[in-house]
């Protein structure tokens, strides 16, 4: 098994899966009905990306684990997502600040991967890049509207950005040297991603937060306490009724 490629595919798949689960929380809770539909659709795109990536990780591993096995039967320490996506997202400003950062990152990531030599990763990326471009546009519109809105919306949008910012740096963490030249190098994505985010932040009359990065480690299985709670919710049914289908 190529354990480097397995971990890489798992990391990207887990980012998408955990984010999709957080998005789903918003259904029926968004500020307007149209936004319920929007966040559900964004989550669905991410879930689709996660399914392809986790299915591929299972193939690379070669032990017969399916996308469902990987999604439902791993504990938090076995997840490889960044901490950005796992923390609670029950403030709408936080949801939009996070989606802005995540979708800008995924846009450049998938764009780079769409021309890589790995046939499956490039196919998933070529499909996903168009979806995340739309997510970025959607998040950008809300950040603009809230940042450049009322005093209260500006204050809350800035607070949301400040809360997410410490978790941005982990996205650009080091690439396993065994994969150099084969997949997208996160460090190379740093400037283009931050450029896209800064442009929206400036147009929204917000300030780029000046805060120290939080401790990373998500790609190595070190997570916040929040991931375990999210997984309990997501995995409960599958683990309580193993093999159940409908």
């Amino acid at each position: 098994m190529d354990s480097s490629l397995f971990d890489y595919a798992l990391g990207l798949g887990d980012d998408a899966l955990v984010s999709a689960q957080r998005m789903g929380w918003w259904i029926s809770r968004a500020p307007e009905l149209e936004e319920d539909v929007a966040l559900a659709n964004i989550g669905l795109d991410q879930l689709g990306q996660a399914r392809s990536l986790l299915g591929y990780a299972g193939e690379v591993e070669g032990r017969g684990r399916t996308e469902d096995d990987l999604a439902y039967l791993r504990d938090d320490r076995e997840f490889r997502n960044v901490k950005l996506v796992e923390r609670p997202m029950s403030d709408f400003g936080v949801a939009m600040a996070r989606l802005l950062v995540l979708s800008a990152y995924q846009l450049h990531l998938y764009r780079a991967l769409s021309t890589c030599d790995d046939a499956l990763l490039s196919a998933v990326a070529a499909k996903a890049v168009k979806e995340v471009a739309y997510h970025l546009d959607h998040a950008g519109q809300w950040v603009l509207r809230l940042g450049d809105g009322t005093e209260e919306s500006h204050r809350r949008m800035q607070a949301a950005l400040d809360a997410e910012w410490p978790y941005v740096e982990e996205l650009f963490g080091p690439l396993d040297p065994a994969l150099a030249g084969q997949v997208a190098d996160p460090a190379q994505l740093r400037e283009p991603v931050l450029d896209d985010v800064r442009r929206v932040v400036a147009a929204a009359t917000l300030a780029v937060p000046d805060v120290a990065p939080a401790v990373g480690g998500g790609r190595g299985g070190q997570h916040t306490e929040h991931l375990g709670h999210l997984l309990a919710d997501m995995q409960h049914l599958h683990r309580s009724h193993p093999g159940a289908t409908w």
Binding site: E34, V37, A38, A40, N41, I42, L44, D45, Q46, L47, G48, Q49, R51, S52, L107, Y110, R111, S114, A119, L120, S122, A123, V124, A126, K127, A128, V129, K130, E131, A133, Y134, D137, H138
Partner: protein
């Protein structure tokens, strides 16, 4: 005289399967039917591609293909999902576009370059009255592939198939 029973080709049968979420168009109209091959043993291999990564209709389409082909006498039907090349709304056939418009869903304009900037849709023609005085009311609609619009001339809301 023995009448000759003509069996529809596997391609004809597959091409006639309807999209479960947009039942006014077939999977061929949508451009998601990529390939159908049959051998002389009655085995069929169908390749389809999803519109969006998370399209929940894929499993239903697979079942519909298997059902339609096996009922017609094909013994074994395999359905493969292929991601590459990525589907785009430019793959919709002219007939598919006409059927969408007929059913009140405004068809997509040309898609942009993959991964390029999201195309600004300046206006979408109202499928009810033909007016261009329309406005987007929600960027996401009842399925991943649609947005919701309102016509300011006839006041009717309508779905728009987003360019992708």
């Amino acid at each position: 005289m023995t009448p000759t029973r003509t069996m529809p080709t596997a391609h004809d049968l597959a091409a006639a399967v309807l999209d479960p979420e947009l039942p006014m168009v077939t999977i061929e109209d949508l451009g998601i039917l990529r390939d159908v091959t049959e051998d002389d043993q009655g085995r069929v291999h169908v390749t389809i591609t999803p519109t969006y990564s998370g399209c929940p209709a894929m499993e239903t389409i697979r079942q519909d293909l298997v059902e339609s082909l096996t009922l017609a006498g094909y013994l074994r039907v395999d359905v493969e999902f292929a991601l590459s090349p990525a589907w785009t709304t430019d793959d919709l056939t002219d007939e598919g576009r006409a059927k969408l418009a007929e059913a009140g869903v405004a068809p997509p304009g040309p898609a942009g370059a993959p991964g390029g900037p999201v195309q600004l849709t300046l206006s979408v023609r109202c499928p009810q009255c033909g007016s261009l005085d329309t406005v987007e009311s929600s960027r996401f609609g009842s399925t991943a592939c649609k947005s919701l619009w309102v016509c300011r001339s006839c006041r009717e809301p309508f779905d728009h198939f987003k360019a992708l």
